[in-house]
């Protein structure tokens, strides 16, 4: 009993440490190089296998290779939106400033992935469907997702006081999260040009060859590392900028 209590206490202490900007700044500084290393170790073989080793598709030729960028970005664009809303919720409920910071810092990364998804999608659409833009359900939802990201960022930018701005933007992200299931189920709701899901959780059922699946999965995991690294780096600089007149950045400089 007492042992359980102490380990619970330890978890709580560990959790609350994240509330301290100084501690977060130091801890994330150690983590970022490892995250970049993980990204490089996964992304470089993934790109090599995807762009050079994997055989051309029997129908689409080499143009299908854009999925190695397109699909991971599309997954990230939605995952980051959900994470942004979750960080926002944590920030609003427990009033943890770091969670608010991470919610806001997620927005530009997610918006960038959404933009990459849209651009690579339309580049792929030209040789495959014969058009750069098709108003099909998933492309439209992705576009709406981009507008939602822009809304969150614009709301944050327009309010002077940073913490108030972060809370308002977090609330908007939570509201926008209602949009995410619609994106996900839009494939089933509206019958359109866009091809159905090829990858299923059960890999045996997946209709994709291993030589293409392996690089795709490598890149899917690599983008997670990329997001974590950029998120931590962005959060660090935002905290440093907001706290430039406080004591902990000065102490940090002196210690260095």
């Amino acid at each position: 009993m007492s042992e359980a209590t102490t380990s619970w206490q330890r978890i709580k202490v560990w959790f609350h440490r994240w509330g301290s900007p100084a501690w977060f700044y130091a801890a994330s500084g150690h983590m970022i190089p490892w995250l970049w290393a993980g990204f490089a170790l996964l992304a470089l073989p993934g790109l090599y296998l995807g762009l050079f080793v994997a055989p051309p598709d029997y129908l689409q030729g080499d143009s299908y290779r854009i999925i190695f960028i397109h699909v991971p970005s599309a997954w990230m664009s939605m995952m980051i939106f959900a994470l942004m809303a979750i960080f926002g919720l944590i920030g609003m409920v427990w009033r943890i400033r770091l969670a608010e910071t991470m919610a806001i810092c997620s927005a530009p990364i997610g918006a960038a992935f959404t933009l990459i998804t849209l651009i690579t999608g339309s580049l792929w659409g030209k040789p495959t469907w014969g058009t750069y833009w098709q108003w099909d359900a998933r492309m439209t939802s992705e576009l709406v997702l981009l507008f939602l990201y822009v809304g969150v960022l614009a709301l944050y930018e327009s309010i002077e006081e940073p913490r108030k701005a972060a809370r308002a933007a977090s609330l908007l992200a939570l509201i926008g999260l209602v949009n995410l299931p619609i994106i996900h189920y839009s494939v089933q709701w509206w019958n359109t040009l866009h091809q159905g899901n090829t990858i299923r959780l059960n890999l045996a059922e997946s209709s994709m060859d291993t030589s293409m699946l392996v690089p795709l999965l490598l890149l899917v995991v690599a983008t997670k590392f990329y997001y974590a690294a950029v998120l931590l780096a962005r959060s660090r600089s935002m905290l440093l900028h907001q706290d430039q007149h406080k004591n902990w950045p000065r102490e940090l400089l002196v210690a260095d």
Binding site: G151, S158, E161, K164
Partner: protein
């Protein structure tokens, strides 16, 4: 309950003192609809196909007008702080404000829609579905607008920003409503679309008033 009714009555009184402003969104909506025959084609068949989408988009744009008025005045004169401290809780007052706002800006859109539908050559069955979809949809629009108004209270260029926040959230509503009108014209059953809009209305009624309360809290307490 009496506080609820008296707030609605006060809001309506104030709104009717500025009758001219009340009509502006309606004129705007009529103008937008009238631009389509001029800009695309006055041919009846073509207009009939566009009608549902045009009227719905005009309604969405009209709802964005005067959006900042929902809470701005109460914020400036300090009444929102009193709401925060009210015995009955903020939610009831927000609900009253949403109701009066819908009566002033949403209901007129529903009432004017059959007229605009006739301009665009809609048949009777499509007119009924159009008005019904607007009757179900305008409360959702009012609530989303109020939410955006509450979120942007502390911000600089509030009015432009609000349209940017609200418009993406309108998308599912627009899709199902216009699909209902189109399917009626094609002679198919539209229960599914209307029920989905009703479901969205129930969801909005449940979630948006508390979200507005949270947004006002963020503005007032920070």
């Amino acid at each position: 309950m009496s506080l609820f009714i008296s707030l609605v009555r006060t809001d309506l009184n104030i709104a009717f003192q500025h009758r001219g402003e009340l009509l502006q969104p309606l004129w705007f909506m009529a103008l937008v609809v009238a631009l389509f025959p001029l800009g695309i084609s006055p041919e009846a068949e073509q207009l009939r196909q566009l009608a549902g989408g045009v009227i719905w988009i005009a309604a969405l744009l009209a709802s964005l007008l005067g959006l900042e008025a929902v809470f701005q005045h109460d914020d400036k004169c300090g009444r929102l702080e009193q709401w925060l401290l009210a015995d009955c809780g903020m939610l009831k007052l927000i609900a009253a404000r949403l109701l009066s706002r819908w009566l002033v800006s949403g209901l007129p859109i529903v009432l004017i829609s059959p007229l605009l539908g006739i301009w665009l050559q809609l048949q009777l069955d499509a007119l009924v579905v159009l008005s019904l979809s607007l009757l179900l949809g305008t409360p959702i629009m009012t609530m989303l607008c109020a939410l955006a108004a509450a979120l942007t209270l502390g911000s600089r260029q509030a009015s432009t920003l609000m349209s940017l926040l609200v418009a993406p959230l309108y998308v599912p509503l627009l899709i199902f409503a216009t699909s209902a009108v189109r399917e009626t014209q094609a002679g198919t059953q539209v229960d599914m679309q209307l029920l989905l809009i009703t479901a969205m209305l129930v969801l909005a009624l449940t979630l948006i008033p508390p979200a507005v309360a949270v947004a006002l809290n963020i503005h007032l307490r920070e």
